[in-house]
Subunit: 210 residues, 2 copies
């Protein structure tokens, strides 16, 4: 019954590498990045820590590999092909994007930790995540909203910056605090609905000027 394919081997470098990467994600979800200790990662991966040094050069290499392995912003790249037309200057697209981000970040705890991490540690791989987000955003701004808003292009960008960063903070806050924020329960459907309405409202008003 012995397999000869690499998939069935008892010793499998690629699978072991993946176990380490999975362990990082698991710990990130449960304990946050402060829990990413060398020994704990190895224990969760079910492998000897020595392999972590062999395969990734150590903890830092593993963590960088983990972050690189994730495509956190794939969802804003219009992956589902259902993006509205842009004849409206990107109004519907922007609203759709903001609502989708609000929901996506809410559900994706790993992304929440990565966003937080990027506010704390100066790690190249984390900067790349932020840079990737900027580049994705640049696509929307430069090709759609900047032309539409003309001399007020930066005002739209500023509104977007406030809303996107607000979405990040509120989703993270909701995940780690039982408190309300401005009296709104960000975990309840009604509280989240209020935020969604406000997002739509603000974008509509921003576009109403033009």
């Amino acid at each position: 019954m012995k397999e000869k394919t690499s998939a069935g081997k008892v010793r499998n470098k690629e699978k072991s590498k993946q176990k380490f990467l999975d362990a990082v994600g698991k710990i990130l979800n449960t304990k946050g990045f402060a829990g990413l200790k060398v020994n704990d990662i190895a224990q969760v991966a079910g492998l000897d820590k020595k392999l972590m040094y062999s395969y990734f050069g150590g903890r830092d290499g593993l963590i960088d590999a983990y972050i690189r392995s994730k495509d956190f912003w794939s969802n804003v790249k219009d992956g589902d092909g259902t993006s509205p037309a842009i004849a409206d200057g990107g109004q519907a697209f922007t609203k759709s994007m903001l609502l989708s981000q609000f929901d996506y970040v809410h559900k994706n705890k790993e992304l929440q930790k990565i966003l937080l991490w990027g506010l704390i540690e100066n790690r190249k791989a984390l900067k790349n995540v932020a840079e990737e987000r900027e580049q994705n955003g640049a696509l929307l701004f430069e090709s759609i909203t900047d032309p539409h808003f003309g001399e007020h292009a930066n005002r739209f960008r500023a509104v977007a910056a406030l809303l996107i960063s607000g979405i990040y903070y509120l989703d993270i806050y909701a995940n780690t605090n039982d408190f309300t924020f401005c009296g709104l329960d960000l975990k309840s459907p009604s509280g989240r609905s209020e935020i969604e309405q406000a997002l739509n409202f603000i974008i509509d008003k921003t576009y109403a000027e033009h």
Copy 2:
């Protein structure tokens, strides 16, 4: 020349306590909360760590005492007495409050760390900071904006939640990243001015409905 007043004593419990509290603030500013190690705190304070246990019961007690010693939200309580009248339903007051927060958090690195910390660690003293902010906000909402916006009171709250949390995130982001956010340089006067204009714009539009 020997002083007999407590201020001049070589050994002074209160001064030593304060040295520990100051050390926490200093480390928070420079290294962030991950740098708050027992030995390092004692070294920065210039005292033996044993005293930390004697006076505060340990690291956690010291940190809690530090957080309690700060009144992070004093600035939103209309401390300078220059708050505009509220005959406008709090419109001018809200704008002034948001702009002031944007500037205050930008300059106050300790508050930035505390805000971040509150998104990561479940510490009672940190929850108290969030709770205090909520209570301060409740004053504004319940007595001024809720009556003004009537059935749409929650929409104003949601707009405020997005803007305040956006302010937090952007200020923290600006402090730890050299990147732009939505293409705006949040460290430059022009970038910050764009955000300020957007804040004013959004509040104006929110009030324009009523």
